[in-house]
Symmetry: C2
Subunit: 127 residues, 2 copies
DNA sequence: TTATCTGTTATACTGAATATATAACAAATA
DNA sequence: TATTTGTTATATATTCAGTATAACAGATAA
């Protein structure tokens, strides 16, 4: 998987990194048990500091996307605490749906967008 | 409308303030033309600095939720650039849906959550 | 055993963002 | 005229983001 950092983005590098790896898991470029590059290797590849990569990995671990395997390094391991995931999803969703309502976007339009994003992620699954 | 700041949150005060005002517009506590408290008054009320409130108002203005009325101060005024709103919504939605897919939340479950949030916002409309 | 690789931790530094404080300005209002 | 509006200018303290160098323990491969 190719990870790219947008150095002009206002989003922190470690957040960009977390999100891209989460995208990679969602579209099955990364699967359970796959190992991520080492913090030093990935840092070298994308041109950022080792500690910034380490910070991203630490957050992914805390949030249940990866775990440490002493033999393989950092590997994909989903801890699907669905209750907690739904709570966080709902909180995040409230903010963006409030914005959508303000901007006169309908419930039906939201559903269409959700369907399209879901389809895009899952259709990459089989490639 | 009662605005509260969570001083223990890791979210910046000005972000909390923006989101709460957006919530207020979404559930029709604030309507087109209503005026917000002055930056000094609101700052005094919720116990934060005037410039932090001003920062929130400035962002709300840039993002098309309020405008300046020299007679009434800052008033609710939605600039519904729907194209732009949908683009931003889609970007934000991708991140949270990727997380949802990782945590085995189904497309149907997402739709249910969207419906519930929409219903909650719009049912406050008539109160 | 030795050398290397893994994540991790400690320390230190720079720059940017956040939040506060005091002060002043022009335009509008009472 | 005095007050209120948003706005702008400084200044300061704190935290966050990112980098840099270094070291550590556990696992692995020579």
């Amino acid at each position: 998987m190719i990870v790219r950092i947008d150095f002009n983005s206002d989003e922190a590098f470690y957040i960009q990194l977390c999100n891209q790896i989460i995208f990679g898991i969602a579209n099955a470029e990364f699967r359970e048990g796959d190992n991520l590059p080492s913090v030093r290797e990935l840092a070298e590849d994308i041109g950022i500091n080792m500690h910034t990569v380490n910070k991203a990995y630490t957050i992914l671990k805390q949030e249940g996307y990866v775990k440490l395997d002493r033999r393989k390094g950092t590997v994909i391991a989903i801890n699907a605490d669905k209750m907690k995931a739904i709570e966080e999803l709902t909180d995040d969703m409230k903010v963006i749906l409030a914005k959508a309502i303000c901007k006169n976007i309908s419930c039906e339009e939201i559903h269409e967008i959700v369907n399209k994003i879901f389809y895009d992620f899952l259709s990459m699954d089989s490639e």
